[in-house]
């Protein structure tokens, strides 16, 4: 099947080459970080996690979001998703690859990575996160690959594949729940110390993941002619809508608890993010406006069902949830610090270059995998829904 990924037009190769170029430049930046340490980042004694860990957190969500295709198809036999579940699974693979790379980029002593296994510590949520993330990566490779291979051979996928597909459903919930537990179990961080974090993570993931899939499906149709099907996209857009509503609802619950209780240890983080003097304030408001706009547009059938407008709405949703989780959430928990001092954080250029390299790696993986999918669909004559 891999051969499908090495036969492409010149545009395809230009895209691949540009990704490789970005990866190369980022690789150099990473060498510098390895040599000099995390001093090259904007992180500090007070804000000890920054852009890297925020991206990791957000991308776990994108990976988990793929389950919104897998669940309806495997549990409810929703046929319209049958043709494209593999896209969700392959998006999950690319996302997890990025997650793992962001973890490694964030480590102060990456050569000691294996210590997490050598000195396995089940008390630490990081240990469990390592297990669920790698497990999810494995499950998606296994299921996605076998389903696609069966399709190429013109036979139904083997029975055992379905068992692993079913396992991957709760597992998807698991990866984002454990990732939320990294944060919400820390007694001294009021911003994160809330039982709503895991549900909120899942809600924003089930909005951002499928929203991104709709965008990818539109790009696939434009560039390769592969049509995911109107019915599938319409169902996905409803999923995005309700997940986004859940996300904003959970956030409002949080805001109520924080501001009605007036507990300063909890409240001061929200004040910092939305009314403070810090550089995150405009981003947080933009996030809220984008998410509410997304909800309104998705609720109105005229806009939601307009397939040329839908990807743009999904873009709004994606950026809105990214600003919320991929930017504000991590930094917001660190400011103010435990001594109630305010230290600003902004990523440095090098930090962003390294991050771009990881994104490019993810897109490279995604491109190669999707290229295989499209190649096989074209071969089997399944480029448009029946």
């Amino acid at each position: 099947m891999l051969e499908k990924a090495i036969n492409g037009s010149s545009k395809y190769w230009i895209w691949i080459a540009s990704l490789l170029l970005i990866i190369g430049v980022a690789g150099l930046a990473w060498m510098k970080q390895l040599d000099q340490g995390l001093v090259i980042t904007g992180m500090s004694r007070d804000v000890t996690w920054g852009f890297y860990i925020a991206q990791f957190t957000f991308l776990v969500g994108v990976a988990a979001g793929g389950v919104m295709l897998v669940l309806p198809y495997y549990l409810h036999d929703y046929k319209a998703f049958g043709r494209i579940t593999v896209l969700g699974e392959f998006l999950a693979i690319a996302s997890i690859v990025m997650c793992l790379l962001f973890i490694i980029a964030d480590m102060g002593f990456p050569s000691r990575l294996m210590n997490v296994i050598i000195y396995a510590s089940p008390d630490s949520m990081l240990f469990w996160d390592m297990i669920v993330l790698n497990g999810y990566l494995f499950l998606n490779i296994l299921v996605g690959w076998n389903v696609l291979e069966a399709e190429r051979n013109g036979v139904p996928a083997k029975k055992w594949v379905k068992i692993f597909a079913l396992i991957s459903i709760p597992w998807a919930f698991g990866i984002h729940t454990v990732t939320a537990y990294l944060y919400c179990g820390l007694p001294g961080r009021g911003f994160w110390l809330s039982a709503i974090i895991a549900p909120r993570f899942l809600a924003s993931a089930f909005a951002a993941g499928p929203a991104f899939l709709i965008i990818l499906a539109t790009i696939l149709k434009k560039t390769t002619g592969f049509d995911s099907g109107e019915k599938a996209l319409r169902t996905l857009s409803k999923i995005v809508c309700y997940a986004l509503i859940a996300n904003v609802f959970f956030f409002i619950c949080e805001v109520f608890v924080v501001f009605y209780s007036q507990n300063p240890e909890h409240m001061d983080h929200f004040i910092y993010l939305f009314w403070g003097t810090g550089n995150l304030v405009p981003f947080m408001w933009a996030s809220m406006i984008l998410m509410v706009t997304g909800i309104v547009l998705l609720l109105i059938p005229k806009y939601r069902n307009n397939l040329s407008l839908l990807p743009w709405i999904c873009g709004i949703v994606f950026i809105g949830t990214w600003l919320d989780k991929g930017l504000g959430f991590v930094t917001g928990g660190f400011v103010p610090n435990p001594l109630h001092e305010y230290t600003e954080y902004a990523p440095t250029a090098l930090e962003l270059v390294i991050s771009m390299g990881i994104f490019a790696t993810g897109f490279l993986v995604l491109t190669l995998l999707f290229k295989m999918v499209v190649g096989i669909k074209q071969e089997s004559g399944d480029t448009t829904p029946h």
């Binding site: 102060g108 002593f109 949520m125 944060y183 435990p338």
Partner: protein, 264 residues
Amino acid sequence: MKESRRKFLKIAGVSAIGIGTGSVLTAFASSGSKEEKAAQAAGARFKHRAESLKAGHWGMVIDTRKIDADLAAKIQETCHSIHNVPGIEGKQELKWIWPSDYKHVFPMQTNPYVSEQLKKAPILALCNHCENPPCVRVCPTKATFQREDGIIMMDFHRCIGCRFCMAGCPYGARSFNFRDPKPFIKEMDPMYPHRMIGVVEKCNFCDERLARGQMPACVEVSKGAILFGDLDDPDSNVRKALRANTTIRRKPSLGTSPSVYYIV
């Protein structure tokens, strides 16, 4: 201790095999005696130094009334110089013990009308060596751990620099080596190792001094303002001070149970 002996036997055995396969001839010539020796050495014992200070649970009482700015600065200076803490300034600074003020060390325990004296007093912040430490709970490699005598230690050999402990610590007591600390250490103290890029560090209650029978350095230079002793011993100096004075601990509502008490 039994466990460490067993581990030694295991390691020694494995390494003997490793060496054996590395140079077959020499190993063949003396293999019997080598393995014998490894087994014998495994019976070797590890002991505390006779002079080392021991406690059921180490604790500290800081009398904030007796510490002025000069003394606080001297305490910080002494601690940082004997532990080779680099003098990096700015957001990526490192510190084990430092003077802050009441409002920041006790952010949820202050009020607008605290005494002038307390408003101005330098309050020392340091690792609280919690009885129930969140940093230890979150560490994915047990690089930070709790000793039987209550001291929360850092194993710099094992730390992967994930900084989860820094997110977990509710007291901001931990520092990270964002860069090579060596150029920022004015005078290297050969009796204590320094650190390298990428590991977390913090106050260790002067574990290396306790092992030599000495009190922690901050206690020694504090002119009696900082007491250090066994919290499990009702007759210890710290317990006497806790009986005689009203003391507070940082963020008691979090359930971490700090071993550092403040007389304010």
